[in-house]
């Protein structure tokens, strides 16, 4: 413990609590409160109702939720595949080229997501790669955006992986493909699931690139929230936002369950 005296420890906790409440809890509580309200003119919301949720879990909103979930799942799967593949290939490269590859994969993080959206739009608006107007352009943009995180966490895990494991496997007569399948990937599983959680959460909350790309029949949930607040339906928007948060949390929970089972060490 860094702080020893009892008083000081209390003070630290108090500061933490205040900051936590102000920065994290309060905004979320406000949204939660608003999601059950019909008016909010005083200090507290009024006209409590569950009607907002009736809207937020049916029809358009339900469709958007499915859209978000499918987009996140497909984009994360693609990102994990590409990211892991690149990380594995990078691990076999010389240091200089590995750095180059790493830099290349970090690019989508460094570039604003609006720019990523724009570049995807420009790149896939003409034949032979005409994806504009289809759901695939959204999925491609999300994949580009989250691959960086998948690549980064997998390559960090690879760097930490003791080469003694794969060498032991090779000396026992296992070909590189067998070593990959039976030793390296299983050992990477904890970081793969961590990366999966990150990718899913990021994709489910993505708005700025999605806004430029989504076709009418593929509207992810964040777009719906934005549209709702834009036309002044703040309380419905809040309810949809709570649904989005809950869905994201559930997905993360499911992934972390896989994770605990994968972390045998």
């Amino acid at each position: 413990m860094l702080v020893h005296s009892r008083k000081a420890r209390w003070a630290v906790w108090a500061v933490f609590l205040v900051l936590f409440l102000l920065l994290f809890a309060l905004p979320l509580l406000v949204v939660l409160g608003a999601s059950f309200a019909t008016h909010w003119s005083g200090v507290l919301p009024s006209g409590m109702t569950t009607a907002n949720y009736r809207v937020a879990t049916r029809g358009e909103a339900l469709e958007a939720l499915t859209t978000s979930l499918v987009t996140a799942a497909v984009a994360s799967l693609l990102a994990l595949t590409v990211g892991t593949w690149a990380a594995l290939a990078g691990a076999a490269l010389r240091k200089r080229y590995r750095r180059l590859l790493d830099a290349l994969f970090v690019l989508p993080v460094a570039v604003p997501s609006v720019v990523v959206g724009l570049s995807v739009l420009v790149a896939f608006s003409q034949p032979p790669l005409l994806l504009n107007g289809t759901r695939w352009i959204v999925i491609v943009a999300h994949t580009v955006l989250v691959t960086a995180f998948a690549h980064q966490s997998v390559s960090a895990a690879l760097a930490r992986l003791d080469p003694a494991f794969e060498q032991a496997a090779a000396s026992l007569g296992a070909r590189p493909s067998y070593v990959l399948l039976r030793v390296r990937l299983p050992l990477l599983l904890p970081s793969l699931t961590a990366a999966a959680g990150l990718c899913l959460a990021l994709s489910m909350g993505e708005l700025s690139a999605t806004m430029m790309l989504y076709p009418p029949d593929w509207t992810p949930l964040p777009v719906l929230i934005y549209a709702a607040t834009d036309r002044g339906a703040l309380f419905t928007g809040s309810a949809v936002a709570v649904v989005l948060m809950a869905a994201t949390l559930l997905v993360l929970l499911a992934v972390s369950r896989v994770r605990t089972r994968a972390s045998y060490r």
């Binding site: 000396s171 070909r175 050992l187 060490r265």
Partner: protein, 350 residues
């Protein structure tokens, strides 16, 4: 199947860490690679296993050049210092790994896994995960895993260094038994512990700074080391700077009668005498000095005696009435217990 290093040179980024090594391990022989940290022992092992490619020279296994063969086609058993047991597999899966990778028939796998676990005394732990085993047990599993593929060559890289002293001597006995049970298995055993090398090896190769210093049976290296490094690394040694005279050598103004071989009179040389061959009191080749330190080691006393600025170690049977710090004592040794070595950098026998 034997191992042969044919002037194998290994370099990392232009740094030579193994300098044209020539060494042959006969079929069924246990060869210990002994040397200080960083002398290139692990590198030599990695060259045999195929994890590092020599910049020049060849590695031969059973007369076949394997220099260009990838590790998975060499059929070598290897046990590394960290054991590298696969943490996500049970003990039996770890041991079966090599056989599964080779697509051995299922019945054969079961039988060989049982056999390997039996041989290493781990049959009762087949269903456990490596993290549920002690260090010594993990080490046995690592050996069982390497033996399950029935290799002709077993490479061991400081397999006992992670174990405490008591467990280590037990495992040494087990390894010796294992070798009796598998007389055709050649073993290359890396260690920087001379006791391990002396106990286990048929021959010892002493390495220093990327080079092979000397190679011979433990007895040869101990009784008649060829150079100062070998003398001080295999067992303890008093190394005295002397000048060759006729029929003996001069040390600190005293004439010592020892065999000089073909050394030229007047040349500088180093005289090597093992501490346990130095006696206390009057005798042939007597030297007189001052006791600077006495250590009681149970069955023996070790005396440090300063003779004309050089410290001599003497291990004598436990004394009922040991000399005290600062006492003048005589020490002596028999002519046939001293070995004359070419002069080197050492000299004060410390």
């Amino acid at each position: 199947m034997g191992i042969r290093f044919d002037s194998v040179t290994v370099a990392y980024d232009g740094n030579v860490v193994l300098d044209s090594l020539d060494l042959t391990v006969e079929p069924g022989e246990v060869m210990a690679l002994l040397g200080p940290s960083g002398s290139g022992k692990t590198t030599a092992l990695r060259a045999v296993a195929g994890f590092v490619r020599p910049v020049s020279g060849r590695v031969l296994l059973g007369g076949r050049d394997v220099t260009d063969l990838p590790p998975y086609r060499r059929g070598i058993g290897m046990v590394v210092q960290s054991y590298a047991l696969f943490p996500h597999m049970r003990v039996e899966e770890n041991v079966a790994f090599g056989l599964r990778a080779r697509k051995a028939p299922r019945t054969e796998i079961r039988q060989r896994v049982a056999e390997a676990l039996e041989m290493t005394g781990m049959a009762g732990y087949a269903r456990r995960h490596p993290r549920e085993l002690s260090g010594g047990q993990q080490q046995r599993v690592a050996i069982a895993r390497a033996l399950a593929i029935r290799p002709d060559v077993l490479l061991l890289d400081e397999p006992l260094s992670a174990l405490d002293a008591q467990l280590r001597s037990g495992m040494l006995t087990e390894l010796a038994r294992l070798h009796r049970e598998l007389p055709d298995l050649s073993m290359l055993y890396v260690t920087h512990d001379q006791v391990e090398a002396l106990t286990l090896a048929d021959r010892i190769a002493v390495m220093d700074r990327a080079r092979l210093q000397s190679c011979g049976t433990p007895r040869e290296l101990y009784r008649a080391p060829a150079d100062e490094f070998t003398a001080s690394f295999v067992g303890n040694a008093n190394l005295l700077p002397v000048t060759v005279g006729c029929g003996g050598v001069d040390f600190a103004g005293a004439g010592l009668k020892v065999g000089t071989g073909d050394a030229v009179a007047g040349a500088r040389a180093t005289l090597c005498v093992r501490p346990h061959l130095v006696g206390l009191g009057e005798g042939p080749n007597r030297l007189t000095g001052t006791v600077t330190e006495i250590q009681w080691r149970g069955a023996t006393h070790r005396l440090y005696v300063e003779v004309d600025g050089h410290t001599l170690m003497a291990d004598v049977r436990e004394l009922r009435d040991p000399p005290r710090h600062g006492d003048r004592v005589h020490v002596h040794f028999a002519a046939e217990d001293a070995v004359l070595l070419p002069a080197g950098v050492a000299g004060d026998g410390s």
